[in-house]
Amino acid sequence: MKHLIAPAVLATGLATAFAAPALAQDNSVALQLQWVTQAQFAGYYVALDKGFYEEENLDVTILPGGPDIAPPQVLAGGGADAMLNWMPSALAAREKGLPVVNIAQPFKSSGLMLTCWKDTGITGPQDFKGKTIGVWFFGNEYPFLSWMSQEGISTEGGEDGVTVLKQGFNVDPLLQRQADCISTMTYNEYGQVLDAGVTEDELVTFKYEDEGVATLEDGIWVLEENLEDPAFVDKMTRFVRASMKGWKYAEENPEEAAGIVLDNDETGAQTEEAQVRMMGEVAKLTAGSNGALDEADYQRTVDTLLAGGSDPVISQAPEGAWTHVISDGALN
Protein backbone atom coordinates (compact mmCIF):
# COMPACT_ATOMS: atom_id res chain seq x y z
CA MET A 1 0.00 0.00 0.00
CA LYS A 2 2.77 2.41 0.85
CA HIS A 3 4.15 1.83 -2.61
CA LEU A 4 0.95 3.17 -4.10
CA ILE A 5 0.88 6.50 -2.32
CA ALA A 6 3.51 8.26 -4.36
CA PRO A 7 2.14 7.09 -7.72
CA ALA A 8 -1.37 8.09 -6.57
CA VAL A 9 -0.31 11.61 -5.77
CA LEU A 10 1.44 11.99 -9.09
CA ALA A 11 -1.43 10.59 -11.09
CA THR A 12 -3.98 12.81 -9.36
CA GLY A 13 -1.80 15.79 -10.07
CA LEU A 14 -1.59 14.89 -13.74
CA ALA A 15 -5.34 14.32 -13.95
CA THR A 16 -6.27 17.69 -12.49
CA ALA A 17 -3.65 19.38 -14.59
CA PHE A 18 -4.86 18.17 -17.95
CA ALA A 19 -8.49 18.40 -17.01
CA ALA A 20 -8.21 22.10 -16.24
CA PRO A 21 -9.53 24.46 -18.90
CA ALA A 22 -6.78 25.84 -21.06
CA LEU A 23 -8.18 29.21 -22.06
CA ALA A 24 -10.12 31.84 -20.22
CA GLN A 25 -13.38 32.58 -21.99
CA ASP A 26 -13.68 36.24 -20.96
CA ASN A 27 -12.27 39.38 -22.61
CA SER A 28 -8.60 38.51 -22.27
CA VAL A 29 -6.46 37.97 -25.34
CA ALA A 30 -2.90 36.64 -25.32
CA LEU A 31 -0.95 37.39 -28.50
CA GLN A 32 2.25 35.44 -29.15
CA LEU A 33 4.75 37.50 -31.14
CA GLN A 34 7.21 35.74 -33.37
CA TRP A 35 10.28 37.68 -32.20
CA VAL A 36 11.46 39.94 -29.40
CA THR A 37 9.83 43.28 -28.67
CA GLN A 38 10.69 45.59 -31.54
CA ALA A 39 9.03 47.99 -33.93
CA GLN A 40 8.12 45.07 -36.19
CA PHE A 41 5.14 44.66 -33.83
CA ALA A 42 4.56 48.34 -33.20
CA GLY A 43 0.87 48.25 -34.11
CA TYR A 44 0.01 45.99 -31.19
CA TYR A 45 2.08 47.90 -28.65
CA VAL A 46 0.59 51.19 -29.85
CA ALA A 47 -2.92 49.77 -29.53
CA LEU A 48 -2.08 48.65 -26.01
CA ASP A 49 -0.51 51.90 -24.89
CA LYS A 50 -2.98 54.22 -26.58
CA GLY A 51 -5.95 52.41 -25.09
CA PHE A 52 -7.43 51.07 -28.33
CA TYR A 53 -7.79 47.62 -26.78
CA GLU A 54 -9.40 49.13 -23.71
CA GLU A 55 -11.91 50.94 -25.92
CA GLU A 56 -12.94 47.56 -27.31
CA ASN A 57 -13.21 46.22 -23.75
CA LEU A 58 -10.27 43.84 -24.19
CA ASP A 59 -7.53 42.84 -21.77
CA VAL A 60 -4.59 42.08 -24.03
CA THR A 61 -1.28 40.46 -23.02
CA ILE A 62 1.52 40.61 -25.57
CA LEU A 63 3.97 37.72 -25.23
CA PRO A 64 7.35 38.42 -26.82
CA GLY A 65 8.91 35.67 -28.89
CA GLY A 66 12.49 34.61 -29.30
CA PRO A 67 14.80 32.10 -30.93
CA ASP A 68 13.51 29.12 -28.99
CA ILE A 69 9.82 29.86 -29.21
CA ALA A 70 7.75 28.32 -31.95
CA PRO A 71 4.48 30.30 -31.94
CA PRO A 72 2.48 27.36 -33.38
CA GLN A 73 3.64 25.27 -30.45
CA VAL A 74 2.57 27.91 -27.96
CA LEU A 75 -0.82 28.14 -29.68
CA ALA A 76 -1.20 24.35 -29.55
CA GLY A 77 -0.34 24.34 -25.87
CA GLY A 78 -3.02 26.89 -25.14
CA GLY A 79 -0.50 29.48 -24.03
CA ALA A 80 -1.91 32.09 -26.41
CA ASP A 81 -5.16 32.91 -28.18
CA ALA A 82 -3.53 34.19 -31.35
CA MET A 83 -0.08 34.13 -32.84
CA LEU A 84 1.86 36.06 -35.44
CA ASN A 85 3.49 33.84 -38.01
CA TRP A 86 4.83 33.86 -41.54
CA MET A 87 2.43 32.14 -43.89
CA PRO A 88 4.82 29.36 -45.05
CA SER A 89 5.49 28.32 -41.48
CA ALA A 90 1.80 28.41 -40.55
CA LEU A 91 0.75 26.44 -43.64
CA ALA A 92 3.44 23.85 -42.90
CA ALA A 93 2.10 23.59 -39.33
CA ARG A 94 -1.35 23.14 -40.78
CA GLU A 95 -0.11 20.21 -42.83
CA LYS A 96 1.56 18.75 -39.74
CA GLY A 97 -1.83 18.45 -38.15
CA LEU A 98 -2.13 21.74 -36.30
CA PRO A 99 -5.17 23.48 -37.83
CA VAL A 100 -4.32 27.17 -37.73
CA VAL A 101 -6.36 29.71 -39.63
CA ASN A 102 -5.39 33.20 -40.80
CA ILE A 103 -7.80 35.83 -39.54
CA ALA A 104 -5.97 39.02 -40.53
CA GLN A 105 -2.98 40.13 -42.60
CA PRO A 106 -1.58 43.54 -41.59
CA PHE A 107 1.59 43.13 -43.67
CA LYS A 108 0.97 43.62 -47.38
CA SER A 109 4.52 43.11 -48.65
CA SER A 110 7.51 41.07 -47.55
CA GLY A 111 10.63 42.58 -46.06
CA LEU A 112 12.87 39.57 -46.64
CA MET A 113 16.05 40.10 -48.63
CA LEU A 114 19.46 38.59 -49.27
CA THR A 115 22.43 40.88 -48.70
CA CYS A 116 25.70 39.97 -50.41
CA TRP A 117 29.16 41.45 -50.71
CA LYS A 118 29.59 43.00 -54.13
CA ASP A 119 33.16 41.73 -54.39
CA THR A 120 31.99 38.12 -54.49
CA GLY A 121 30.92 38.82 -58.05
CA ILE A 122 27.28 37.98 -57.49
CA THR A 123 24.99 39.85 -59.87
CA GLY A 124 22.00 37.55 -60.12
CA PRO A 125 20.47 34.44 -58.53
CA GLN A 126 22.34 32.08 -60.84
CA ASP A 127 25.60 33.40 -59.41
CA PHE A 128 24.72 31.82 -56.06
CA LYS A 129 26.19 28.55 -57.30
CA GLY A 130 29.28 27.65 -55.34
CA LYS A 131 28.68 30.37 -52.76
CA THR A 132 27.91 30.20 -49.06
CA ILE A 133 24.58 31.68 -48.03
CA GLY A 134 23.32 32.17 -44.51
CA VAL A 135 19.69 31.29 -43.94
CA TRP A 136 17.62 31.57 -40.79
CA PHE A 137 15.66 28.49 -39.94
CA PHE A 138 12.80 28.07 -37.50
CA GLY A 139 10.19 28.77 -40.13
CA ASN A 140 12.10 31.42 -42.06
CA GLU A 141 13.84 29.03 -44.43
CA TYR A 142 10.85 28.19 -46.58
CA PRO A 143 10.94 31.21 -48.92
CA PHE A 144 14.65 30.63 -49.59
CA LEU A 145 14.28 26.90 -50.24
CA SER A 146 11.37 27.55 -52.58
CA TRP A 147 13.36 30.17 -54.47
CA MET A 148 16.39 27.91 -54.95
CA SER A 149 14.16 25.11 -56.07
CA GLN A 150 12.55 27.35 -58.68
CA GLU A 151 15.97 28.49 -59.89
CA GLY A 152 17.05 24.87 -60.10
CA ILE A 153 19.98 25.32 -57.71
CA SER A 154 20.62 22.56 -55.19
CA THR A 155 21.14 23.48 -51.57
CA GLU A 156 23.55 20.64 -50.87
CA GLY A 157 26.71 22.61 -51.48
CA GLY A 158 29.43 21.93 -53.98
CA GLU A 159 30.28 23.71 -57.22
CA ASP A 160 26.80 23.79 -58.67
CA GLY A 161 24.85 24.33 -55.52
CA VAL A 162 24.77 26.70 -52.61
CA THR A 163 26.28 25.88 -49.25
CA VAL A 164 23.68 26.82 -46.70
CA LEU A 165 24.65 27.98 -43.23
CA LYS A 166 22.19 28.12 -40.41
CA GLN A 167 22.95 31.63 -39.33
CA GLY A 168 22.19 33.09 -35.97
CA PHE A 169 20.09 36.21 -35.68
CA ASN A 170 22.81 38.76 -36.24
CA VAL A 171 24.88 39.99 -39.15
CA ASP A 172 28.29 38.73 -38.05
CA PRO A 173 28.50 35.94 -40.65
CA LEU A 174 28.54 38.59 -43.35
CA LEU A 175 30.90 40.95 -41.55
CA GLN A 176 33.30 38.17 -40.56
CA ARG A 177 33.20 36.83 -44.12
CA GLN A 178 31.96 33.41 -43.08
CA ALA A 179 29.16 33.72 -45.59
CA ASP A 180 29.01 35.45 -48.97
CA CYS A 181 25.37 36.40 -48.46
CA ILE A 182 23.06 36.47 -45.48
CA SER A 183 19.34 36.72 -44.97
CA THR A 184 18.27 40.09 -43.70
CA MET A 185 15.04 41.95 -43.16
CA THR A 186 14.75 45.38 -44.75
CA TYR A 187 13.75 46.81 -41.41
CA ASN A 188 16.29 45.20 -39.12
CA GLU A 189 19.44 43.39 -40.11
CA TYR A 190 20.11 45.41 -43.25
CA GLY A 191 20.28 48.50 -41.07
CA GLN A 192 22.66 46.68 -38.72
CA VAL A 193 25.00 45.92 -41.62
CA LEU A 194 25.03 49.59 -42.55
CA ASP A 195 25.57 50.52 -38.89
CA ALA A 196 28.68 48.35 -38.85
CA GLY A 197 30.26 50.75 -41.30
CA VAL A 198 29.58 48.93 -44.54
CA THR A 199 28.50 51.31 -47.31
CA GLU A 200 25.68 50.52 -49.69
CA ASP A 201 27.95 50.31 -52.72
CA GLU A 202 29.96 47.51 -51.09
CA LEU A 203 26.80 45.41 -51.12
CA VAL A 204 24.42 43.90 -53.61
CA THR A 205 20.94 43.02 -52.42
CA PHE A 206 18.07 40.87 -53.64
CA LYS A 207 14.59 41.57 -52.32
CA TYR A 208 12.29 38.58 -52.43
CA GLU A 209 9.45 40.87 -53.57
CA ASP A 210 11.44 41.93 -56.64
CA GLU A 211 12.45 38.34 -57.45
CA GLY A 212 8.81 37.26 -57.40
CA VAL A 213 9.29 34.70 -54.64
CA ALA A 214 7.96 36.71 -51.71
CA THR A 215 5.61 35.14 -49.19
CA LEU A 216 3.25 36.80 -46.76
CA GLU A 217 4.63 37.63 -43.34
CA ASP A 218 3.37 38.46 -39.86
CA GLY A 219 -0.25 37.38 -40.23
CA ILE A 220 -2.54 36.82 -37.26
CA TRP A 221 -3.43 33.14 -36.85
CA VAL A 222 -5.73 31.26 -34.46
CA LEU A 223 -6.72 27.66 -33.89
CA GLU A 224 -9.58 26.48 -36.11
CA GLU A 225 -11.55 24.88 -33.29
CA ASN A 226 -11.80 28.20 -31.48
CA LEU A 227 -13.50 29.79 -34.47
CA GLU A 228 -16.57 27.69 -33.78
CA ASP A 229 -17.15 29.60 -30.56
CA PRO A 230 -19.10 32.81 -31.28
CA ALA A 231 -17.77 34.52 -28.18
CA PHE A 232 -14.22 33.90 -29.41
CA VAL A 233 -15.03 35.20 -32.88
CA ASP A 234 -16.48 38.35 -31.39
CA LYS A 235 -13.45 38.81 -29.15
CA MET A 236 -11.03 38.41 -32.05
CA THR A 237 -13.05 40.77 -34.25
CA ARG A 238 -12.65 43.50 -31.66
CA PHE A 239 -8.98 42.59 -31.29
CA VAL A 240 -8.29 42.87 -35.02
CA ARG A 241 -10.18 46.15 -35.23
CA ALA A 242 -8.16 47.69 -32.44
CA SER A 243 -4.89 46.25 -33.75
CA MET A 244 -5.42 47.67 -37.23
CA LYS A 245 -6.20 51.02 -35.64
CA GLY A 246 -2.90 50.70 -33.81
CA TRP A 247 -1.08 49.89 -37.06
CA LYS A 248 -2.48 52.86 -38.92
CA TYR A 249 -1.59 55.15 -36.02
CA ALA A 250 1.93 53.72 -35.98
CA GLU A 251 2.31 54.29 -39.72
CA GLU A 252 1.41 57.94 -39.30
CA ASN A 253 3.41 58.55 -36.11
CA PRO A 254 6.61 56.50 -36.44
CA GLU A 255 8.63 58.29 -33.75
CA GLU A 256 5.90 58.02 -31.17
CA ALA A 257 5.40 54.36 -32.05
CA ALA A 258 9.14 53.69 -31.68
CA GLY A 259 9.05 55.36 -28.27
CA ILE A 260 6.14 53.17 -27.18
CA VAL A 261 8.02 50.06 -28.31
CA LEU A 262 11.09 51.17 -26.35
CA ASP A 263 9.02 51.65 -23.21
CA ASN A 264 7.76 48.11 -23.54
CA ASP A 265 11.19 46.59 -24.12
CA GLU A 266 12.17 44.68 -21.00
CA THR A 267 15.72 43.88 -22.00
CA GLY A 268 16.88 47.48 -22.14
CA ALA A 269 18.96 46.57 -25.18
CA GLN A 270 17.05 48.43 -27.93
CA THR A 271 18.14 51.83 -29.10
CA GLU A 272 15.86 54.62 -30.19
CA GLU A 273 17.44 55.25 -33.57
CA ALA A 274 17.29 51.58 -34.53
CA GLN A 275 13.63 51.42 -33.59
CA VAL A 276 12.73 54.62 -35.45
CA ARG A 277 14.46 53.31 -38.54
CA MET A 278 12.72 49.95 -38.15
CA MET A 279 9.34 51.64 -37.78
CA GLY A 280 9.93 53.62 -40.94
CA GLU A 281 10.72 50.46 -42.92
CA VAL A 282 7.88 48.43 -41.42
CA ALA A 283 5.42 51.19 -42.32
CA LYS A 284 6.35 50.58 -45.97
CA LEU A 285 5.35 46.93 -45.57
CA THR A 286 2.05 47.50 -43.80
CA ALA A 287 0.98 50.28 -46.15
CA GLY A 288 -1.76 49.14 -48.48
CA SER A 289 -3.29 46.63 -46.11
CA ASN A 290 -6.42 47.25 -44.10
CA GLY A 291 -6.02 43.97 -42.26
CA ALA A 292 -8.03 41.74 -44.58
CA LEU A 293 -6.08 39.00 -46.36
CA ASP A 294 -5.94 39.64 -50.09
CA GLU A 295 -6.83 36.38 -51.78
CA ALA A 296 -4.52 37.06 -54.71
CA ASP A 297 -1.58 37.55 -52.34
CA TYR A 298 -2.51 34.35 -50.55
CA GLN A 299 -2.64 32.43 -53.80
CA ARG A 300 0.75 33.79 -54.88
CA THR A 301 2.30 32.61 -51.60
CA VAL A 302 0.75 29.15 -51.97
CA ASP A 303 1.97 28.89 -55.58
CA THR A 304 5.51 29.87 -54.55
CA LEU A 305 5.49 27.22 -51.86
CA LEU A 306 4.04 24.50 -54.04
CA ALA A 307 6.62 25.19 -56.73
CA GLY A 308 9.30 23.94 -54.39
CA GLY A 309 10.15 21.04 -56.66
CA SER A 310 11.74 18.06 -54.98
CA ASP A 311 11.36 19.39 -51.47
CA PRO A 312 8.17 21.42 -51.40
CA VAL A 313 7.28 23.20 -48.23
CA ILE A 314 3.71 22.01 -48.51
CA SER A 315 2.62 19.12 -50.63
CA GLN A 316 -0.88 20.25 -51.53
CA ALA A 317 -2.94 23.40 -51.62
CA PRO A 318 -4.36 24.05 -48.17
CA GLU A 319 -8.11 24.13 -47.62
CA GLY A 320 -9.72 26.55 -45.23
CA ALA A 321 -6.45 28.09 -44.12
CA TRP A 322 -7.87 31.58 -43.96
CA THR A 323 -11.14 33.29 -43.19
CA HIS A 324 -12.54 36.76 -43.81
CA VAL A 325 -15.19 36.39 -41.11
CA ILE A 326 -13.20 38.28 -38.53
CA SER A 327 -11.63 40.91 -40.74
CA ASP A 328 -15.01 41.62 -42.37
CA GLY A 329 -16.51 42.11 -38.94
CA ALA A 330 -13.62 44.31 -37.88
CA LEU A 331 -13.70 46.65 -40.84
CA ASN A 332 -17.31 47.79 -40.63
Binding site: A15, P72, A76, F137, G139, K166, Q176
Partner: protein, 313 residues
Protein backbone atom coordinates in the same frame (compact mmCIF):
# COMPACT_ATOMS: atom_id res chain seq x y z
CA UNK B 1 16.52 -17.93 -5.35
CA UNK B 2 14.45 -20.12 -7.64
CA UNK B 3 11.42 -19.32 -5.52
CA UNK B 4 12.04 -15.62 -5.98
CA UNK B 5 12.49 -16.01 -9.73
CA UNK B 6 9.15 -17.74 -9.91
CA UNK B 7 7.46 -14.94 -7.99
CA UNK B 8 9.08 -12.44 -10.35
CA UNK B 9 7.80 -14.32 -13.35
CA UNK B 10 4.34 -14.57 -11.80
CA UNK B 11 4.31 -10.86 -11.19
CA UNK B 12 5.37 -10.19 -14.76
CA UNK B 13 2.63 -12.44 -16.16
CA UNK B 14 -0.03 -10.86 -13.95
CA UNK B 15 1.26 -7.46 -14.99
CA UNK B 16 1.09 -8.33 -18.67
CA UNK B 17 -2.41 -9.74 -18.29
CA UNK B 18 -3.72 -6.70 -16.53
CA UNK B 19 -2.12 -4.53 -19.19
CA UNK B 20 -4.18 -6.24 -21.85
CA UNK B 21 -7.35 -5.68 -19.83
CA UNK B 22 -6.44 -2.06 -19.22
CA UNK B 23 -5.68 -1.55 -22.88
CA UNK B 24 -9.12 -2.79 -23.83
CA UNK B 25 -10.68 -0.64 -21.14
CA UNK B 26 -8.76 2.43 -22.24
CA UNK B 27 -9.79 1.97 -25.83
CA UNK B 28 -13.42 1.42 -24.95
CA UNK B 29 -13.89 3.94 -22.19
CA UNK B 30 -14.42 7.62 -22.99
CA UNK B 31 -11.53 9.96 -22.32
CA UNK B 32 -12.30 10.78 -18.70
CA UNK B 33 -9.20 12.21 -17.03
CA UNK B 34 -9.95 10.56 -13.68
CA UNK B 35 -10.24 7.12 -15.27
CA UNK B 36 -7.07 7.71 -17.26
CA UNK B 37 -5.21 8.80 -14.14
CA UNK B 38 -6.43 5.67 -12.37
CA UNK B 39 -5.17 3.52 -15.23
CA UNK B 40 -1.73 5.16 -15.08
CA UNK B 41 -1.66 4.68 -11.32
CA UNK B 42 -2.50 0.99 -11.59
CA UNK B 43 0.12 0.39 -14.26
CA UNK B 44 2.80 2.07 -12.19
CA UNK B 45 1.88 0.13 -9.04
CA UNK B 46 1.98 -3.19 -10.86
CA UNK B 47 5.26 -2.40 -12.57
CA UNK B 48 6.76 -1.41 -9.24
CA UNK B 49 5.72 -4.75 -7.76
CA UNK B 50 7.29 -6.62 -10.67
CA UNK B 51 10.41 -4.55 -10.28
CA UNK B 52 10.60 -5.37 -6.59
CA UNK B 53 10.34 -9.04 -7.34
CA UNK B 54 13.14 -8.79 -9.89
CA UNK B 55 15.36 -6.86 -7.49
CA UNK B 56 15.31 -9.76 -5.07
CA UNK B 57 16.74 -12.18 -7.63
CA UNK B 58 20.34 -12.83 -8.51
CA UNK B 59 22.47 -9.69 -8.71
CA UNK B 60 23.46 -10.18 -12.33
CA UNK B 61 19.86 -10.53 -13.53
CA UNK B 62 18.68 -7.72 -11.28
CA UNK B 63 21.32 -5.30 -12.47
CA UNK B 64 20.01 -5.53 -16.03
CA UNK B 65 16.33 -6.34 -15.47
CA UNK B 66 15.48 -3.55 -13.03
CA UNK B 67 16.62 -0.53 -15.04
CA UNK B 68 15.20 -2.03 -18.23
CA UNK B 69 11.85 -2.67 -16.58
CA UNK B 70 11.82 0.80 -15.07
CA UNK B 71 12.58 2.35 -18.45
CA UNK B 72 9.87 0.29 -20.18
CA UNK B 73 7.38 1.34 -17.50
CA UNK B 74 8.20 5.00 -18.10
CA UNK B 75 7.73 4.55 -21.85
CA UNK B 76 4.45 2.76 -21.29
CA UNK B 77 3.18 5.47 -18.96
CA UNK B 78 4.24 8.11 -21.50
CA UNK B 79 2.38 6.35 -24.30
CA UNK B 80 -0.72 5.93 -22.17
CA UNK B 81 -0.67 9.52 -20.95
CA UNK B 82 -0.32 10.93 -24.47
CA UNK B 83 -3.14 8.78 -25.83
CA UNK B 84 -5.50 9.01 -22.88
CA UNK B 85 -5.15 12.74 -22.33
CA UNK B 86 -5.18 13.54 -26.06
CA UNK B 87 -1.94 15.48 -25.93
CA UNK B 88 -1.30 17.08 -29.35
CA UNK B 89 1.67 15.62 -31.18
CA UNK B 90 3.19 19.07 -31.68
CA UNK B 91 3.68 19.34 -27.93
CA UNK B 92 4.66 15.80 -26.92
CA UNK B 93 4.69 12.90 -29.39
CA UNK B 94 4.02 9.33 -28.31
CA UNK B 95 6.92 6.85 -28.09
CA UNK B 96 5.49 4.88 -31.01
CA UNK B 97 5.74 7.95 -33.27
CA UNK B 98 9.29 8.53 -32.10
CA UNK B 99 10.29 4.95 -32.91
CA UNK B 100 8.80 5.32 -36.38
CA UNK B 101 10.74 8.56 -36.85
CA UNK B 102 13.99 6.87 -35.82
CA UNK B 103 13.45 3.95 -38.16
CA UNK B 104 12.56 6.21 -41.08
CA UNK B 105 15.49 8.62 -40.68
CA UNK B 106 18.50 6.45 -39.91
CA UNK B 107 20.79 7.95 -42.62
CA UNK B 108 20.07 11.51 -41.45
CA UNK B 109 20.58 10.56 -37.81
CA UNK B 110 23.86 8.85 -38.67
CA UNK B 111 25.15 11.84 -40.64
CA UNK B 112 24.23 14.15 -37.76
CA UNK B 113 25.95 11.79 -35.32
CA UNK B 114 29.18 11.85 -37.32
CA UNK B 115 29.14 15.64 -37.54
CA UNK B 116 28.35 16.39 -33.93
CA UNK B 117 29.76 13.50 -31.92
CA UNK B 118 32.64 12.11 -33.90
CA UNK B 119 33.96 15.40 -35.23
CA UNK B 120 32.87 18.01 -32.71
CA UNK B 121 32.46 16.31 -29.34
CA UNK B 122 35.14 13.62 -29.64
CA UNK B 123 37.69 15.96 -31.16
CA UNK B 124 37.11 18.56 -28.48
CA UNK B 125 37.11 15.92 -25.72
CA UNK B 126 40.48 14.53 -26.82
CA UNK B 127 42.07 17.97 -27.13
CA UNK B 128 40.56 19.22 -23.89
CA UNK B 129 41.49 16.17 -21.81
CA UNK B 130 45.04 16.04 -23.19
CA UNK B 131 45.49 19.74 -22.50
CA UNK B 132 43.99 19.35 -19.04
CA UNK B 133 46.23 16.47 -18.06
CA UNK B 134 49.29 18.15 -19.58
CA UNK B 135 48.64 21.40 -17.74
CA UNK B 136 47.99 19.48 -14.52
CA UNK B 137 51.37 17.76 -14.80
CA UNK B 138 53.03 21.16 -15.19
CA UNK B 139 51.01 22.82 -12.45
CA UNK B 140 51.27 20.06 -9.86
CA UNK B 141 54.99 20.55 -9.50
CA UNK B 142 54.59 24.16 -8.43
CA UNK B 143 52.40 24.94 -5.46
CA UNK B 144 52.53 28.60 -6.44
CA UNK B 145 51.02 27.97 -9.85
CA UNK B 146 48.42 25.67 -8.37
CA UNK B 147 47.19 28.24 -5.88
CA UNK B 148 47.05 30.88 -8.60
CA UNK B 149 45.56 28.90 -11.44
CA UNK B 150 42.75 27.03 -9.71
CA UNK B 151 40.64 30.02 -8.61
CA UNK B 152 41.03 31.57 -12.07
CA UNK B 153 40.15 28.23 -13.63
CA UNK B 154 37.00 27.96 -11.50
CA UNK B 155 35.96 31.40 -12.68
CA UNK B 156 36.45 30.52 -16.33
CA UNK B 157 34.55 27.26 -15.84
CA UNK B 158 31.63 29.28 -14.48
CA UNK B 159 31.18 31.19 -17.78
CA UNK B 160 27.84 29.99 -19.13
CA UNK B 161 27.99 28.13 -22.40
CA UNK B 162 25.11 30.22 -23.79
CA UNK B 163 27.54 33.12 -23.83
CA UNK B 164 30.76 31.42 -24.86
CA UNK B 165 29.23 29.47 -27.75
CA UNK B 166 28.30 32.51 -29.93
CA UNK B 167 31.74 34.04 -29.30
CA UNK B 168 33.55 30.85 -30.28
CA UNK B 169 31.34 30.42 -33.38
CA UNK B 170 32.30 33.99 -34.34
CA UNK B 171 35.99 33.12 -33.95
CA UNK B 172 36.20 29.64 -35.41
CA UNK B 173 33.50 29.69 -38.04
CA UNK B 174 30.45 27.55 -38.56
CA UNK B 175 32.12 24.17 -39.01
CA UNK B 176 32.92 21.49 -36.45
CA UNK B 177 35.99 23.40 -35.29
CA UNK B 178 33.97 25.90 -33.29
CA UNK B 179 31.97 23.08 -31.69
CA UNK B 180 35.23 21.35 -30.72
CA UNK B 181 36.46 24.67 -29.30
CA UNK B 182 33.35 24.99 -27.13
CA UNK B 183 33.88 21.44 -25.90
CA UNK B 184 37.55 22.18 -25.10
CA UNK B 185 36.57 25.22 -23.01
CA UNK B 186 33.97 23.20 -21.11
CA UNK B 187 36.12 20.13 -20.56
CA UNK B 188 39.53 21.64 -19.79
CA UNK B 189 38.95 22.89 -16.25
CA UNK B 190 37.10 19.93 -14.69
CA UNK B 191 39.84 17.62 -15.98
CA UNK B 192 42.56 20.01 -14.80
CA UNK B 193 41.10 20.43 -11.32
CA UNK B 194 40.53 16.73 -10.83
CA UNK B 195 43.96 15.68 -12.12
CA UNK B 196 45.74 18.25 -9.96
CA UNK B 197 43.83 17.02 -6.91
CA UNK B 198 44.73 13.47 -7.85
CA UNK B 199 48.41 14.08 -8.42
CA UNK B 200 48.78 15.53 -4.94
CA UNK B 201 46.65 12.87 -3.28
CA UNK B 202 49.52 10.61 -2.28
CA UNK B 203 50.16 10.20 1.41
CA UNK B 204 53.30 11.47 3.15
CA UNK B 205 54.36 7.92 3.93
CA UNK B 206 54.15 6.91 0.29
CA UNK B 207 56.22 9.92 -0.78
CA UNK B 208 58.80 9.12 1.89
CA UNK B 209 58.97 5.56 0.61
CA UNK B 210 59.78 6.76 -2.91
CA UNK B 211 62.45 8.97 -1.40
CA UNK B 212 64.06 6.03 0.41
CA UNK B 213 64.15 4.20 -2.93
CA UNK B 214 66.10 7.14 -4.39
CA UNK B 215 63.42 7.74 -7.01
CA UNK B 216 63.87 10.62 -9.46
CA UNK B 217 60.96 13.04 -9.85
CA UNK B 218 60.07 11.31 -13.09
CA UNK B 219 59.96 7.92 -11.44
CA UNK B 220 57.89 9.28 -8.55
CA UNK B 221 55.50 10.65 -11.11
CA UNK B 222 55.25 7.38 -12.99
CA UNK B 223 55.00 4.97 -10.09
CA UNK B 224 53.23 7.00 -7.42
CA UNK B 225 51.58 10.21 -8.59
CA UNK B 226 50.00 8.94 -11.81
CA UNK B 227 48.42 5.79 -10.40
CA UNK B 228 47.04 7.68 -7.38
CA UNK B 229 45.73 10.34 -9.75
CA UNK B 230 43.81 7.80 -11.82
CA UNK B 231 40.63 7.67 -9.69
CA UNK B 232 40.39 11.45 -9.75
CA UNK B 233 41.25 11.57 -13.43
CA UNK B 234 38.43 9.17 -14.23
CA UNK B 235 36.05 11.26 -12.15
CA UNK B 236 37.04 14.21 -14.32
CA UNK B 237 36.74 12.16 -17.52
CA UNK B 238 33.21 11.06 -16.63
CA UNK B 239 32.18 14.66 -16.08
CA UNK B 240 34.00 15.63 -19.28
CA UNK B 241 32.12 13.05 -21.34
CA UNK B 242 28.70 14.44 -20.43
CA UNK B 243 29.88 18.03 -20.85
CA UNK B 244 31.39 17.29 -24.25
CA UNK B 245 28.10 15.94 -25.57
CA UNK B 246 26.04 18.84 -24.26
CA UNK B 247 28.63 21.38 -25.41
CA UNK B 248 28.76 20.12 -28.98
CA UNK B 249 24.96 20.07 -29.33
CA UNK B 250 24.37 23.46 -27.72
CA UNK B 251 27.12 25.07 -29.77
CA UNK B 252 25.29 24.09 -32.93
CA UNK B 253 22.28 26.13 -31.86
CA UNK B 254 24.32 29.26 -32.50
CA UNK B 255 25.42 28.62 -36.04
CA UNK B 256 26.17 25.49 -38.03
CA UNK B 257 26.13 24.05 -41.49
CA UNK B 258 22.89 22.29 -42.31
CA UNK B 259 24.05 19.20 -40.49
CA UNK B 260 24.44 18.10 -36.92
CA UNK B 261 22.32 17.09 -33.95
CA UNK B 262 21.93 20.58 -32.53
CA UNK B 263 20.95 21.87 -35.95
CA UNK B 264 18.45 19.03 -36.35
CA UNK B 265 16.83 19.69 -32.98
CA UNK B 266 16.48 23.44 -33.45
CA UNK B 267 15.20 23.32 -37.02
CA UNK B 268 12.81 20.43 -36.52
CA UNK B 269 11.26 22.22 -33.55
CA UNK B 270 10.69 25.16 -35.87
CA UNK B 271 9.05 22.81 -38.36
CA UNK B 272 6.94 21.28 -35.56
CA UNK B 273 8.41 17.90 -36.42
CA UNK B 274 8.57 16.82 -32.79
CA UNK B 275 9.06 13.05 -33.38
CA UNK B 276 12.31 13.84 -35.24
CA UNK B 277 13.41 16.12 -32.39
CA UNK B 278 12.86 13.34 -29.89
CA UNK B 279 14.58 10.84 -32.19
CA UNK B 280 17.71 13.03 -32.06
CA UNK B 281 17.36 13.39 -28.29
CA UNK B 282 17.18 9.59 -27.98
CA UNK B 283 20.38 9.26 -30.01
CA UNK B 284 22.03 11.87 -27.76
CA UNK B 285 20.90 10.13 -24.57
CA UNK B 286 22.05 6.74 -25.84
CA UNK B 287 25.44 8.11 -26.87
CA UNK B 288 25.90 9.85 -23.53
CA UNK B 289 24.94 6.81 -21.49
CA UNK B 290 27.08 4.44 -23.56
CA UNK B 291 30.16 6.65 -23.41
CA UNK B 292 29.66 7.19 -19.66
CA UNK B 293 29.39 3.41 -19.27
CA UNK B 294 32.53 2.92 -21.36
CA UNK B 295 34.55 5.27 -19.19
CA UNK B 296 33.16 3.64 -16.05
CA UNK B 297 34.14 0.22 -17.43
CA UNK B 298 37.67 1.43 -18.13
CA UNK B 299 37.81 2.93 -14.66
CA UNK B 300 36.85 -0.35 -13.07
CA UNK B 301 39.63 -2.15 -14.93
CA UNK B 302 42.37 0.37 -14.23
CA UNK B 303 41.53 1.38 -10.67
CA UNK B 304 40.26 -1.91 -9.29
CA UNK B 305 42.34 -1.35 -6.20
CA UNK B 306 40.47 1.80 -5.08
CA UNK B 307 37.94 1.46 -2.19
CA UNK B 308 35.14 3.02 -4.21
CA UNK B 309 35.33 0.14 -6.66
CA UNK B 310 35.12 -2.43 -3.93
CA UNK B 311 32.64 -1.26 -1.31
CA UNK B 312 29.01 -2.12 -1.69
CA UNK B 313 26.98 0.30 0.48
Amino acid sequence: MRVRLRSAATSAVLFGGLLVVLGLLAGAAPRIPALAALALLLVWALAWQANRAFSLTDARIARVACPVLFGLTLLLLWQMAVRLFDVPSVILPAPTEITVAIAANLPTLWADFVQTILKGALGGWLIGCTAGVGTALLVARSGFLRRGLLPVGNFVAALPIIGTAPILVMWFGFGWESKAAVVVVMVFFPVLVNTVAGLSDSEAMQRDLMRTYGATPGQTLRYLALPSALPFLFNGLKIATTLALIGAIVAEFFGSPTLGMGFRISTEVGRLNLPMVWATIVVAALTGSLSYGLVARLERRLTFWHPSQQARG
